[in-house]
Each structure stands twice: as structure tokens, then as C-alpha cells.
């Protein structure tokens, strides 16, 4: 049962999201589902110790090779309490970067589509992890997070329920939320 949010909203919200383009893409890709098949890519190189650098540059989509406007680099490392040099965020923190980025982008898009003007969207994320798992101390403890808590503080021209609804819809449509909450088949090969 879908009933649209009812609270009064401005008629010209602008969150900087081109919803018409997104809806147009949705329409076009419904007609040409092959073009909807994307491949996201990263290449990484070990530097020293636990310090590595990952480069994001090209991807595939809409039936052809695509390229970011510029190439992006991300350093990952571990903090000094792990006897590392702390040259970058830990890889597990990069997962939180991905989740926050994805959910927040979704909130902006959904709010735009529902004509809700956002003034401020702030999120804090916290993931629990028992490192007995990765250290091999207790095989009953998983390596990864035992849970993620995301808290949003949102200032917008909408009721509390309508804001909650935007956040819920963003989770429903989020790729990273899906990647984290559902299993994904991973193939690792070595040359």
C-alpha cells in the first residue's frame, strides 16, 4: 500500500539532484536492460606494511567504457595501536565511508523526488567488531562487523514521519546497504 507523504512541502525543492535525469535513465534502461549492466573497478597496490593505495579510475556502463572526471586515490592502513603507521583509514572504515556516502546520496535523491528541501543531513556511523575474529583467538567470532548503527540528523522541510520515510526509502534503494546486509559471491584469483 503506497500512499504519498501528505505534509505541506515547498513546490520547488532543490537538493542539487537532477531527478528528471535519473527518472529518464530509469525509463531508458527499462527499455534497454543490457545497458544497465555496470562494472565497478578498483586497482590497488601494496606500499609497505599494512599501507596500501587503491585507485579508482575507469568503470563500465551504458554499454561502453567510462571514466571518472579525475582519478581518485585512497590510502588504507591501520592505526598505530596495531603497530602500523596509520597512513589512512582502515579498510573496515572505508566500508562505513561507502555506506554513509550511499545512504546520504539516496536521501538527497529521494527527498528531491518527493519535493522535500533538505537543509542539513548529518550522519554518524558506528560499527561493532570483536577483533578476536581476525586475530584467530576465537573461531566462533566472525571477522567482520557484529552490527552497524547509523544515526541521521536531518533538517528539512518535512514532518518527522516523512523524513523517516525518506531515510527508509534510501536504505531500500541503496547498493551498499544491500551489499552489507546480503551475501555476495566473491571470487579471488591469483596470477
Amino acid at each position: 500500500m503506497q500512499t504519498q507523504p501528505t505534509s505541506a512541502k515547498p513546490t520547488n525543492a532543490n537538493n542539487g539532484v537532477n531527478v528528471e535525469a535519473l527518472l529518464g535513465a530509469r525509463e531508458a534502461l527499462t527499455q534497454a536492460p543490457e545497458a544497465a549492466r555496470f562494472k565497478w573497478r578498483a586497482s590497488s597496490e601494496w606500499l609497505n606494511g599494512t599501507h596500501g593505495r587503491t585507485t579508482i579510475d575507469k568503470f563500465f556502463g551504458l554499454g561502453e567504457e567510462q571514466q571518472h572526471r579525475v582519478s581518485f586515490q585512497f590510502d588504507t592502513d591501520h592505526p598505530q595501536i596495531f603497530a602500523s603507521e596509520d597512513n589512512g583509514a582502515t579498510p573496515v572504515e572505508m566500508v562505513l565511508v561507502g555506506l554513509a556516502g550511499c545512504l546520504t546520496a539516496g536521501i538527497a535523491a529521494v527527498a528531491q523526488n518527493r519535493n522535500i528541501q533538505l537543509r542539513s543531513v548529518k550522519a554518524t556511523l558506528e560499527a561493532g567488531m570483536d577483533i578476536q575474529g581476525i586475530l584467530g583467538i576465537d573461531s566462533d567470532v566472525r571477522n567482520g562487523f557484529d552490527g552497524i548503527k547509523v544515526h541521521y540528523d536531518i533538517d528539512a522541510d518535512a514532518s518527522a514521519d516523512d523524513i523517516a520515510s525518506v531515510v527508509a526509502q534510501s536504505q531500500k534503494r541503496s547498493a551498499v546497504f544491500d551489499i552489507i546486509t546480503n551475501p555476495t559471491d566473491v571470487t579471488v584469483t591469483v596470477a
Binding site: M1, T6, S165, K172, T181, P183
Partner: protein
């Protein structure tokens, strides 16, 4: 329950203006209308009238709509309990009596094997001879096959599997725990009765539609009808594809008018898990999205109840009615399971309450999309080919018994125009192939 006598004396094959496939409530409602319009037609039915209700429903099922809503063109409920909910025998009797009263030209025991375009309409092949018709109405139902996810093949052999289509009662199941997959009306009803039978239930919950049975002293179906929600047209919704795929709302028709939601199930000891994401090495994996799907459903329910409140205020209909109440959000405890070892013996049964789909394997007309879904515009499938009784075919109420009347009226008017055009043209110009 009543059995309509088989009309074996009727000709087994022949020519008709219209062939209606299926003698459920939709097909019979169309037949009633075609009788009014004096259009020559037959209704082909693989079993007896109301076949699916006789053979493909579980024993305890009752309609989700109160009796006073159980109406078809020219027939209304006139029994002693307008606020009650029909059980299977009562539904079968209601539909059978309707067929008898209308003297519907039903050919029972006649399975349609193929429908294909013909120079002047369609050829309908059955196991009891062929028919030629100008037009065909597909009223064969939306629930012919149980939809089961591909991961069902990864379930260990030690676990008994059954779909909601084959499920009748808990007595069919081995003792021990059961995993019910799906949180529509079906999933919740089966979870409740299986758990009550002493088989501890885990319920895998994906996106769902929550609503209370009663709100402010009225049945929720009354609110949906009175406020205009059930009459909402497919052209007026933002995402027709999505609304046509919505699971049935979490409702049960019980003499107690009880609300059946996830809170009611957890209160009786049923364990909730997220959507079944897959099965790997004998282990069921559940999505970590349970909280969000519940919060989506809670928010949508609140929005719907708010629209009822607004409507009640505007229309003044409930000036002395019960006040608006806030329903408790869905309770999700800590320790929601993310995995379950299906080989441990804890789970002895998996019940797939993962929806249904129509079977159009016999439809030899190019009207299915790449996912096998029937393409249609408000039930108009192709020249002279119509569909009835599918979810949100034309209106939100389209798949309900009380929704058949309006759809039948609209589509029969279209059909009448089509037949008039056929009559005015040489036969060769009305073939499907030349007009498509």
C-alpha cells in the same frame, strides 16, 4: 460444499463470440455481463466452478474482506453475518450459486491447452475439442503457480519443503521447527497456525504491507473502500509495476476480527529473521534489512491511517467515531538471526509463502514481456484479448471479488466495440497478426 453439475450435454467444440477462460468469480462476472449484452459465449473451466478455491487453498483460510463486501454483478451477500469472513466452503458455495443463478455457460472439466491467433480471432484448443472465438477473456487467476526462489534447490534433503499452494494444514508437516518464508497475509497466517501446532516457527520477513484489522471502530477494508483507496485507478499511481507486485496486506479474516501483524507473532513466540537472502552449504542466510523493511511498513501504514483520518475529518463521516490511535511500531529484538543451519535438525520444514504467478504457458500470443509477465493496458491485452482478476489490473480492488464488477463493465464495453468493429469488417482484417 456444492458441486455444479457438469454440462456434458453441451457441444464440446464450436464457435462463440467470446471464450472466457476460467470459472472463478472474474470469469463468471464477465459471463453475467455477456449474458446481459446477449453476446454468445462459453466459459471454459479445467475443474469445477471455483476450482482454485476448492483445490489450491489451505483449510483455515477465510477471505480478507468482510462478507458485506463479497458482491458480484447482480449478487450480494445476504447471509446472517455481514461483518464475518467467508471460509472456503462458503466462498465455493457463493461462487457456485452465482454460476447457477446466472445459468452461466460453463464447460467444466475442460482444460485450455492453447490460445492462438486465427484469421478472425482466436483458436482455443482444449482437451475436449477446439473453439473459435472473436475474443478471449483470460480469467484464469493470478495464483496458478507458487513462486519459489531459486535457492530452494539448495535446501538439504533432510528438510521437508512445501509451498503455500500445496499447504493445507500443519498435519502435513513433520514435527519440529519450521521456517516460513514470506510475510504477506499468507506467510503470517501459516506461521501463526504452524507455530500454534507446536512447531516452533522462524519467519523470514522481506518487504511487506502492514495494516490493522480494525481502525477506529471499523474494518480496515471499510476504510479503504469508503475513503476511495480501493477505487484508485492504475493511471493514478506513480509506479504501476510496483503496486502490481505488492504482497497481500498482513490480514486475517477471523471471527475475532483479530489483527495479525509481526508484533502479534512475536508475542506468541515466533522468531523473526530478515529476508531469505540465500542458502549456502546448507545454511540459510538472512538479510540484515529486517529493521528497515519493518520501518518502511510501519511508516506506510501510518501514512495510510493518516489519509483515513484526513478523509474522516473532511467528510465528517466519523464525527462520533472512535478516536485515532497510534499503533505500536514493529518490535525487533536484539539477536535477529542472520543465518540458520538447515542441517542441524532445528528446522524440519520450509514453507514457501513467496507468492504466486499466473500460468500463461498455453497462451500462444506474443503478449508476455521478457520476464514472462502479461503486458496489458488495464486488462486490454491485444485486439480481442482481455485479462481479468489480476492485481491492480485497472484499480486497486481489481483482484478482489467486489472489484470484478467495475472491471467487467469497462472491459465488456471495450469488447462490445471490438465485436462491432469485427462485424463491420471483412474477417481478414481483424486477425491479431495484421492489427498488432
Amino acid at each position: 460444499m456444492r458441486t455444479v453439475p457438469r454440462k456434458t450435454s453441451r457441444p464440446r467444440t464450436g464457435i462463440a463470440d467470446v471464450v472466457v477462460v476460467g470459472a472463478g468469480h472474474s470469469g463468471l462476472a464477465m459471463s453475467h455481463r455477456l449474458n446481459e449484452l446477449a453476446i454468445r459465449h462459453v466459459v471454459l473451466e479445467r475443474g469445477d466452478v471455483a476450482h482454485s478455491w476448492r483445490t489450491e487453498r489451505w483449510d483455515s483460510l477465510r477471505l480478507l474482506t468482510p462478507n458485506w463486501m463479497s458482491c458480484l454483478p447482480g449478487a450480494e451477500y445476504d447471509g446472517p453475518d455481514p461483518d464475518g469472513f467467508m471460509n472456503m466452503d462458503e466462498i465455493i458455495d457463493f461462487i457456485s450459486a452465482y454460476a447457477e443463478k446466472n445459468q452461466a455457460p460453463v464447460h467444466t472439466g475442460t482444460t485450455v491447452l492453447g490460445v492462438e491467433p486465427h484469421t478472425s480471432g482466436y483458436t482455443i484448443t482444449t482437451d475436449r475439442g477446439d473453439w473459435q472465438a472473436r475474443a478471449v477473456v483470460l480469467a484464469s487467476g493470478a495464483c496458478n503457480e507458487a513462486s519459489v526462489p531459486a535457492c530452494a534447490q539448495d535446501v538439504p534433503d533432510s528438510v521437508f519443503q512445501i509451498t503455500s499452494k500445496d499447504y493445507k494444514s500443519p498435519a502435513q508437516l513433520p514435527d519440529g521447527g519450521a521456517l516460513v518464508v514470506g510475510a504477506s497475509a499468507t506467510g503470517l497466517q501459516l506461521a501463526q497456525e504452524i507455530h500454534a501446532s507446536g512447531r516452533p516457527v522462524t519467519l523470514a520477513v522481506g518487504e511487506h504491507v502492514r495494516m490493522p484489522r480494525r481502525y477506529r471502530g471499523r474494518d480496515v477494508q471499510w476504510w479503504m473502500l469508503a475513503s476511495g483507496l480501493l477505487d484508485q485507478c492504475i493511471d493514478d499511481v506513480d509506479d504501476p509495476v510496483r503496486v502490481r507486485r505488492l504482497p497481500s496486506p498482513q490480514l486475517i479474516g477471523s471471527p475475532e476480527h483479530a489483527t495479525l501483524d509481526l508484533n502479534a507473532l512475536t508475542a506468541m513466540g515466533i522468531r523473526l529473521a530478515g529476508r531469505l537472502a540465500g542458502i549456502r552449504n546448507g545454511k540459510a542466510q538472512f538479510s540484515g534489512s529486517l529493521r528497515n523493511v519493518c520501518s518502511l511498513a510501519d511508516l506506510k501504514m501510518r501514512r495510510m491511517l493518516n489519509t483515513f483520518d484526513d478523509w474522516a475529518t473532511t467528510s465528517g463521516v466519523l464525527d462520533n467515531g472512535a478516536p485515532a490511535v497510534e499503533l505500536e511500531p514493529t518490535r525487533i529484538g536484539n539477536g535477529v538471526p542472520l543465518g540458520l543451519d538447515l542441517g542441524s535438525g532445528e528446522i524440519r520444514t520450509i514453507v514457501w509463502a513467496t507468492g504466486y504467478r499466473p500460468d500463461y504457458s498455453w497462451l500462444k500470443v506474443p503478449v508476455l514481456d521478457r520476464k514472462g509477465q502479461l503486458q496489458h493496458d488495464g486488462g486490454v491485452v491485444a485486439p480481442g484479448l482481455y485479462a481479468l482478476g489480476l492485481p491492480f489490473l485497472r484499480r486497486r480492488k481489481s483482484s478482489f471479488m467486489h472489484g470484478a464488477g467495475d472491471d467487467v463493465r469497462d472491459l465488456s464495453n471495450h469488447l462490445l466495440t471490438y465485436l462491432d468493429q469485427c462485424a463491420a469488417r471483412p474477417a481478414s482484417q481483424v486477425a491479431f497478426a495484421s492489427s498488432a
